[in-house]
């Protein structure tokens, strides 16, 4: 069992700051290592800022429209509204000169970027074009954080209703067919061992399933190691209880101990509240490593089947 199998589209999402981008990079690496042709992408408003996910592959500054070759069989590109807009205008107008004129028209580009939902339509169009190209066995998308990811996931259905025909309508229809098929699309939700992020990940899974996108796996990231046995934990709890309110200085390490307790409670609830058909994975906390090394460690962890300490029976 692994986080994703061979679906052509893999969508990675989660609350901000939980390790979404690292997971995207790790999953893409693993797929690449297993011999697939892989494209790694992220959703970005434009190409002006360095790309976090491409940064894992040394291509943070890559700004072009065509996927860049990172290594044999491994490619990277960004999904941005302007690229998608240019592509569909090119398909619509066919004449290159006309497209350039149209994209130079400040009014048109402003409209496409400012009118609600149009930027997202551009993103989806670019993604569908990449899927259509059949150049990749698997495309990994680092989606935005929860709220924007849900909005993005719900968009195709709505757009398809108002735009059933035309270039965009056709592309979106195709996108919907791919995203609605669990054999072709796998969504992965990543979260942290804390109460609120775990609750939110369940809501995210619900929201995705309402958009007909099945969440295949959930990853619990940054689980702190537990050095204590039962008796030692009990001894510490009693010690802290005795010290409470005595005016003794704070005992260093107790803050981390509380964090550990909270993480373990959250871990328990992670396994309790997730829908039964979602596969669960756990990734330990890697400290003192830079983000690229963390991605490597994460890849290694996820390649081994995980037996959660509190699994569903």
């Amino acid at each position: 069992m692994s986080v994703v199998s061979n679906q052509e589209l893999v969508l990675v999402t989660g609350k901000g700051g939980v390790g979404k981008t690292t997971l995207t990079a790790a999953l893409a690496r693993a797929a690449h290592r297993s011999g697939r042709r892989v494209l790694v992408t992220e959703v970005a408003p434009d190409v002006h800022n360095p790309s976090p996910v491409l940064g894992y592959f040394g291509k943070a500054q890559y700004r072009e429209e065509e996927p860049v070759l990172i290594e044999p069989r491994l490619f990277g590109v960004r999904l941005t509204p302007p690229i998608g807009h240019r592509q569909f205008l090119r398909a619509a107008l066919r004449v290159r000169l006309l497209v350039d004129t149209a994209m130079k028209s400040a009014a048109l580009t402003r409209f496409l970027l400012a009118a609600p939902t149009f930027p997202e339509i551009g993103l989806i169009y670019q993604l569908v074009e990449l899927l259509r190209s059949k150049k990749f066995d698997q495309i990994f998308v680092d989606l935005p954080a929860t709220g924007h990811a849900i909005a993005l996931a719900s968009l195709p259905k709505v757009v398809h209703r108002i735009l059933p025909t035309g270039l965009i309508g056709d592309a979106i229809g195709e996108g919907l067919a791919i995203m609605g098929d669990p054999k072709r699309t796998a969504a992965v939700v990543i979260t942290l061992p804390e109460a609120m992020p775990v609750t939110e990940s369940v809501e995210l899974i619900d929201a995705f399933s309402k958009c007909s996108i099945r969440v295949a796996s959930a990853v619990l990231n940054k689980l702190p190691p537990d050095p204590f046995n039962h008796d030692e934990r009990k001894s510490l709890t009693e010690l802290l209880e005795r010290r409470r309110g005595t005016g003794e200085p704070r005992l260093l390490g107790t803050r981390e101990l509380r964090r550990l307790e909270r993480a373990q409670n959250a871990q328990r609830s992670f396994h309790e509240v997730l829908p039964p058909d979602v596969a669960r994975f756990e990734v330990p906390l890697f400290e003192g490593l830079d983000h690229r090394r963390v991605a490597e460690e994460m890849e290694a962890t996820l390649s081994r089947p995980v037996r959660p300490s509190w699994g569903p029976r």
Partner: protein
């Protein structure tokens, strides 16, 4: 950074920052601090932090701000001075869009026509893009009404959170009549020049080929119906920008001691500057930087004279956790130092640290604790 002074004197405080740094919590704590300082404060948030909302008694996605019950605050030991109020609203883009139509449409018939277009229905269904507009719109509105002394705005939790800052400008561009006339030449016929009409034809061809003929027609129809609203909305867009640029408003960047935090915080500061605004400073959230005197487990073992047994073993194993805390304390103090320096550039005031609390901030007592730190920051 004199955070306490900001919340005592400003009319708008915008909280920016990456996702996951505790922006919503900090916004709520700032609101509570402002109320404790005697102001009528409103916290506008887009990110629904459910537990916090529950603790404050706010319904998710209600259609108006809700005043936090003074009894709830008193129960947690927080007494507001006379006249002070704390309100909160989780923005629902749908509701704000409705209210725009309600206020600006000239008559019932126009309202009905707008609501009936499929595009409007789709717009109100799809949240994307609307969050930013509605935040800007609500901000302007409440400021105009003068119902609140201070509005704390929690921006959306993503790197493009700053779309919000740019929203008024983008909105203004979008609502520019020259832009609109390309799409709905009929609605602006008398003003259209030959050139505009020709350009409009190209655009129409592009749109109808890309989106389908019927959509292109509908788009024109929609913009035609919405046409009368645009002038007023454009004034708003200008108003929002003026408000955000003025002395009445302050921008702060919230960050936390994670690996990428500094980079992200600087990114936000730069983006704010690019938009012609000033970031007052950084708030380093959940930091160990302000930790006071502590005892290490090793010291305690020695003090107690324990050598063997489960107590000694437990404390010995606590050692690495204590070391971790110490390292993080040092790292956080260093980070704070850097943030103070960076925060003072370009007219900013520096940075302050808010402490890591032992429990997740999900109730009023924890919020009150944070707000005390904010009030003590002068």
């Amino acid at each position: 950074m004199k955070l306490a002074e900001l919340i005592r004197t400003k009319e708008v405080v915008v909280c920016c920052g990456a996702g996951g740094v505790g922006k919503t919590t900090t916004s709520a704590a700032l609101g509570l601090a402002a109320a404790r300082a005697g102001r009528r404060a409103l916290v506008l948030t887009i990110d629904p932090a459910r537990r916090l909302a529950q603790a404050l008694g706010i319904p998710p996605m209600g259609n108006a701000p809700v005043q936090i019950d003074a009894a709830l605050l008193e129960a947690a030991g927080v007494n507001l001075p006379p006249g002070a109020e704390l309100h909160a609203w989780m923005l629902d883009p749908k509701v704000v869009l409705e209210s725009i139509v309600d206020r600006f449409a000239p008559d019932e018939d126009a309202k009905r026509r707008i609501r009936e277009t499929r595009l409007y229905k789709a717009l109100s269904e799809v949240m994307t893009g609307l969050q930013e507009y509605t935040a800007a719109e609500a901000l302007y509105d409440f400021n105009e009404q003068g119902r609140f002394d201070l509005i704390i705005l929690d921006t959306p939790p993503s790197r493009n959170a700053l779309d919000f800052l740019d929203a008024p400008r983008r909105l203004a561009r979008f609502l520019d009549e020259r832009t609109l006339s390309l799409f709905a030449p009929d609605a602006f016929a008398q003003k259209s020049s030959t050139l505009v009409r020709a350009a409009s034809k190209v655009v129409h061809t592009a749109i109808s080929k890309a989106f389908g003929e019927s959509f292109a027609n509908e788009l024109q129809h929609f913009l035609g119906a919405f046409g009368t609203l645009f002038g007023k909305m454009r004034l708003h867009a200008k108003g929002v920008r003026q408000l955000l640029m003025s002395d009445k408003s302050a921008f702060i960047v919230i960050t936390s001691p994670e690996e990428m935090a500094l980079e992200e915080a600087l990114f936000f500061k730069r983006r704010i500057a690019e938009l012609g605004l000033v970031a007052e400073g950084f708030v380093l959230n959940r930091s160990y930087a302000t930790d006071g005197v502590c005892q290490t487990p090793a010291e305690l073992i020695e003090l107690e004279g324990w050598t063997t047994g489960v107590d000694a073993e437990a404390l010995r194993k606590l050692g690495p956790l204590a070391d971790h805390e110490m390292r993080r304390g040092r790292a956080d103090r260093e980070l704070l130092g850097t943030l103070v320096l960076e925060g003072r550039r370009d007219g900013g005031q520096g940075a302050i640290a808010l402490p890591y609390l032992d429990e997740a901030v999900e109730d009023i007592p924890a919020l009150a604790q944070l707000s005390s730190h904010i009030l003590a920051s002068d």
